[in-house]
């Protein structure tokens, strides 16, 4: 169980923000001409999906490490499913693909759950990355071999290894912060996901100069700078959740959100390469799990190692 006081402030804050968002969207929809424009419908769907996500995370929050481990294992499952669906595979890859879902996900999250740090950090980048292509080679099908192997490894790296660093935050031992690690997860998710929204808003309001038109038509320099500044400020305001001072919290949030931005950029490049707009259709209005989690995926390992290096015993 996380400490009650901070948890209550968090829950009340999130419910307040979402209620305001739902009210605004409701009033806009009520006053807008019918039938509603697709932008308004999408806005409402997105806010509703946020409600579902906040409820899911809150429930997992109260079940502590077990709840968080299970929740993020499921997120890995959904993300890996989207990744593998999108990339090229052949019939001979069947057993490797099955192993990714049936062995790698459960084992990696079991390592998180038992806090076996040594194996947690190397199981995928050493053992899986060497054994998966070995199995593919043993199968004897060399057609587009490197492409298939690369796609499988990237899929596991992004959707399992990176995502598993979120619940792994619970295994860190920060002196003076015992029993409160769940709040680190809340800090990471709120700043990084908040940064996505803030970058979007700043981009819509002030965006002029496209950052990388060949990758994403919506990302602008104004959105990036404004979003990062605002989310660093958000990080400083949330420093009461963390072992960081307000200045440190702003710096950590800045690094995490910058990584999050890069994650979104890489995810856009992959989607563009594969000729799709969304990763999937899991979340109404948002596309797939990876459309929502792409920033968290890049931010989580760097946030984890920052806290581990500078704060943990």
């Amino acid at each position: 169980m996380p400490p009650m006081h901070e948890t209550m402030i968090l829950v009340i804050g999130l419910v307040g923000v979402l209620t305001t968002a739902s009210l605004v969207a409701g009033i806009l929809s009520w006053r807008a001409p019918k039938p509603l424009s697709s932008t308004l419908v999408n806005l409402t769907q997105r806010i509703n999906a946020w409600w579902v996500m906040v409820v899911a995370i809150t429930v997992a929050f109260f079940f502590g490490r077990t709840g968080m481990t299970i929740l993020f294992a499921l997120i890995s499952f959904a993300a890996l499913r989207e990744f593998v669906t999108l990339t090229h595979s052949r019939r001979s890859d069947h057993w490797v693909l099955l192993g990714m879902f049936g062995i790698i996900i459960p084992f990696q999250y079991w390592l998180v759950w038992t806090a076996w740090y040594g194996l947690f950090t190397i199981f995928i980048p050493v053992y899986c990355f060497l054994l998966m292509p070995a199995i593919t080679a043993l199968n004897g099908d060399t057609e587009r071999f490197l492409e298939r192997v690369a796609a499988q490894q990237w899929a596991v790296m992004i959707s399992v290894y990176c995502v598993s660093h979120v619940p792994a935050l619970l295994t860190l031992n920060v002196p003076g912060f015992e029993g409160r690690n769940l709040l680190l997860i809340a800090f990471l998710i709120i700043t990084v996901q908040g940064s996505d929204v803030l970058q979007y808003i700043f981009g819509k309001l002030f965006g002029k100069h496209l950052l990388s038109p060949s990758v994403s038509p919506s990302k602008t320099w104004e959105g990036l700078v404004g979003g990062l500044a605002a989310s660093s400020l958000l990080g400083a305001l949330l420093s009461f959740l963390t072992p960081f001072s307000p200045l440190q919290a702003a710096a950590v949030a800045l690094v995490a959100c910058l990584m999050g931005f890069l994650g979104g950029l890489v995810a856009s490049a992959i989607k563009r390469d594969q000729g799709v707009k969304d990763w999937g259709h899991l979340i109404e209005g948002h596309g797939g799990m990876m459309d929502r989690a792409d920033s968290l995926v890049f931010a989580a390992p760097v946030f984890f190692h920052t806290v581990r290096y500078f704060w943990s015993a």
């Binding site: 989207e82 669906t85 000729g275």
Partner: protein
Amino acid sequence: MTKLHLRANTFTLLQTVTSVGLSALAWVVTGVRPIWNGSQPSERQRIYFANHASHGDFILLSACLSEKVRARTHAVAAAEYWGKSRLRRYIAEDMLSSVLIHRQWTDEAQNPISIMLSVLDQGHSLILFPEGTRNTTDQPLLPFRSGLYNLSMARPEVELIPCWIENMSRVLPKGQFLPVPLLCRVVFGPAVSIAPGEDRRAFLERARQTLLALNPRPDRDD
């Protein structure tokens, strides 16, 4: 002769449990989602015809239909395969409520068209795979066999709905029994019917092209 286990309007308890269970499983593994692109969900009598690459195909297609429609819709399966052993026949007929037909037949009682018509005449719908077998070739869709044409000639009032099943050949390839979780969609297209004076071959090719055109990612080479 193939037995027909068709109750008036409802599934047996076993069939209901099987169908709800398999639809839930299909959702967990493939997140299956119907895309209605030219037709709408309806309780009208229909023949849903689809591409066929895997045993999972009809499970995915039925998972996209409402519980009520599903209880009155039967997949057409090959008696040569599903009638081979008692267990297979039990699974196909008693659990999945499919209709078994013989691809090679001599006895008039085994005439597949009359068996399928007898199901239609009870007001039920069919799921048909007009390629006649699971497609394991590199072609996206094999030539159609003539059943679709014969059924539509005999019962022109029954709607023919093309349904493109995406990715199922990768989820559960022929010869495998454990499915890989991959996202699947089923695209339901506009109804096709035989044009006045259209001959069998022209109609079958047109129906095939209508189905092919539903593939949301035709550029994919797998």
